[in-house]
Symmetry: C2
Subunit: 146 residues, 2 copies
């Protein structure tokens, strides 16, 4: 493993671990108001997506697409959002976020100011579907990396 | 072409056209304060990244990586940011954004509230590098899609 001293994603899991493959891991992120918020974190330290080889980019985005597909199938979000920003933590990680028309920011990005209050009842309904979504992720990702 | 009536990205270019390939186009987005803001727009109407086939996803992300690489080489950004959100316009488009530590939001995402005033002098220096960056994009993308 290529780790960078002091990099939080080299030195910690970065969330609740859902799946670990040789080159990436999937975690559930505990982000208030967004129950269906996952991250695909590249194992080795790389700041930018274009630092990866074509084969690595393909493996990475195949995982992102698999996570997205499981969120769509199990959570039925209004939209999914994908982003690799890394301004704060420049270690390649993809946000894969199920968005709902009732969430606190929709249709704005999750990083914008809130436009409505949280709907904790609807959040709880989504949260109840996470185990099934994660079982599907594990099944899909295991098939890819076996 | 699979177009959807009423979809702004099916019915218009969506910015200043830099490059057009059979399955995607690259445009420069006129976003105040972010001179190095490009979008890779998938030609056919698809709402979600996981609606694409594996080969299509690969072609799409290869273009995103090529644009990112040209921004890095010619604009020397502090970080590049990638995102496919589509909450407002659910037609697959990737934001590819050169970010600088002096821009109005850094290190927050471009969609967050501004934390400082614009630095129009530095923006102009970046803008002056765009023709060279775009020439490099065209060369890189032409090689891929020929």
């Amino acid at each position: 493993m290529t780790g960078l001293a002091g990099c939080v994603l080299c030195e910690s899991i970065g969330g609740r671990l859902v799946f670990e493959a040789p080159h990436f891991r999937v975690i559930h992120a505990d982000e208030a108001g967004f129950p269906g918020f996952y991250r695909v974190i590249w194992r080795d330290h790389a700041a930018e997506f274009s630092d990866l080889s074509a084969a690595e980019r393909s493996a990475c985005m195949d995982a992102v697409a698999a996570v997205e597909r499981c969120l769509r199938e199990h959570l039925a979000p209004t939209k999914t959002n994908l982003a690799a920003l890394g301004n704060m933590v420049p270690h390649l990680h993809w946000h894969v976020i199920a968005r709902f028309e009732w969430d606190t920011r929709f249709p704005a990005p999750v990083w914008a100011a809130a436009s409505r209050d949280r709907d904790v009842d609807r959040e709880a309904i989504v949260a109840a579907q996470l185990p099934a979504a994660e079982a599907a992720m594990i099944a899909a990702l295991s098939k890819r990396t076996s």
